[in-house]
Symmetry: C2
């Protein structure tokens, strides 16, 4: 029983199928491509039989060479450990599936060098399109590596001079309005908790939004890879307690909220009176931990789905990229 699969030494080709079914290779091809109407049902049955008997599986490389299409779309994200990236991919996939494409996920791991490699890889293989959550800020770098001319949609982070459609969050506006909201509640001192701001356009925008609304802003930058938890914790405590103003700790990314805020809550520093916290947050984890927190929710799934819709449209219509910017708003709730 087990292992019957392995019986065929060489993988069968269309020729083998044709021979066994006693038809021509062209007929087999027609069968495979669903042109059943131009075929007697007898031959169709014979072919079907032969395919099963031989365990025949079409060679996609050969097909791609002819059709110049793979029905696969590369999705290159910044970090698959981020819920944002994975949820984005799920959104992408849902639309892609519905249109008979398959999403293939690649992870740049927040490494610009790796991003280059992956873009080259995508360039070198027959992917029909690319959805990219970029690390780079400049479209030029990407254009230099993507010599092949396939449709591209950029998500989440904005690119300078992008010739492609972009799908982004209203980072600046929502950061600003959120800050205003807390200002109105008396939180005049804002501590921004973030990875290196200059590393991503989203962070820059969020920071700019906060600064536009707040009067007193401190920044605490935490290294993505390595940080001293205790040290960051102490700095936060200091920033909260050394002023008489009411303090809002504003995490630019959910991860930092999850890492540092719970202990501050347990220890009573975040009491929702003298100090409170908010964050850009993609999952419901933070809310479950402390339901009283008001957080900014993005919609990565919708962003992915939107990006995929744009891409699919270009794929089927062969239209040139529109340089639209699609904004999926985030909301405080």
């Amino acid at each position: 029983m087990g292992g019957s699969v392995m019986e065929n030494r060489k993988t069968a080709t269309m020729k083998d199928v044709a021979a066994l079914a006693d038809v021509s290779i062209a007929t087999v091809s027609r069968f495979l491509n669903g042109n059943l109407d131009r075929m007697s049902s007898t031959t169709a049955a014979k072919i079907k039989d032969a395919i099963e008997k031989l365990n025949y599986v079409p060679n996609s490389a050969a097909r791609q060479m002819i059709t110049k299409a793979s029905k696969m779309v590369a999705v290159v994200v910044a970090n698959i450990d981020d819920y944002f990236s994975t949820e984005l991919f799920k959104g992408v996939s849902s639309i892609l599936e519905a249109n008979n494409y398959t999403g293939v996920l690649f992870d740049t791991d927040s490494n610009p060098e790796r991003e280059r490699q992956l873009i080259q890889l995508v360039n070198d293989h027959t992917y029909d399109g690319l959805i990219l959550q970029p690390l780079t800020e400049s479209a030029a770098t990407i254009e230099a590596d993507m010599k092949r001319d396939i449709p591209i949609v950029v998500v989440d982070r904005e690119l300078i001079h992008s010739p492609w459609t972009q799908v982004v969050t209203n980072n600046y506006e929502v950061a600003k309005s959120t800050t205003s909201h807390f200002m109105a509640a008396g939180y005049t001192h804002v501590v921004v908790l973030t990875s290196k701001i200059s590393m991503a356009s989203t962070r820059e925008e969020r920071y700019a939004g906060i600064k536009a609304a707040a009067s007193h802003v401190d920044v605490l930058e935490v290294s993505e890879e390595s940080y001293n938890h205790t040290q960051v914790h102490q700095k936060l405590v200091k920033l909260i307690t050394e002023t008489t103003e009411k303090t809002l700790v504003f995490a630019l990314k959910e991860r930092w909220l999850l890492e540092f805020i719970p202990s501050l809550i347990v220890q009573g520093y975040i009491d929702h009176d003298q100090a409170t916290a908010t964050a850009f947050s993609d999952t419901s984890t933070a809310r479950n931990i402390e339901p009283r927190l008001q957080l900014i929710s993005q919609d990565p799934y919708l962003m992915g789905a939107s990006a995929a819709e744009v891409l699919v449209d270009q794929l089927v219509s062969h239209r040139r990229p529109t340089q639209d910017k699609i904004i999926i708003p985030a909301t405080l709730r």
Copy 2:
């Protein structure tokens, strides 16, 4: 400026490069494959020039058709939203990269039907190998769809009658020893917090391990997709308080710990005296939230790396799959 990439109407082929460089197509092929030693540096330079001028990019489909290899390995995981799956992928990638392969990530989204589709997709395309975190329990189902004969390594969940190498955690043992550990501390009542146990072999093993050590076990099954947070919360409270025994809440998956334990801590139900909690936990998030928790840490990265090593070994040696079972132990700490 922008768009210089788009200037070439049809993508150039090797023939074009050969013509422009005034050499034969074979020489270009040699150049591309790094056989520079068998070539005058003059011609090499000419070819290099031509390639750049023409923006030539080799057609991987054509190459795959000849070499029957893509240097790509498909990694099919159960759920990219789980840190376990993504970290596994990172471990896989690290080894793959080092051996000049690229990992390509696919997400079954915990959907068996989708798993089938993806396995067929992998089967239909030229992936050199497959690393699978399976949903299915039986190897036969997979064998039926994977007609092509490429090396496969199974990770995390065990398969019945697997003809492939498996890389797994010592779920039973560590669940048992952990339970014993807490029993010794007086926690004689164990509440198991889990998704449907029968859905995954890992969960079954963990549950069996707990039962083997505990005297009084209650099970609280939570639906992956939809659950009433308040209701689960209340059930937990009831289970903890309705007995005089000391209670250990044992989450079979980090997510459930994150979802329900923090509020129990805040409300004082989990006081590390009358009641405490533990979990299989892959990230450090839970530890940061409550450092006093003792949790079971798996090592998904190492599991991925191990799986990839086995796969690469089979890839380069063309050895048949060994039916080994590789165990990466988890530890309580």
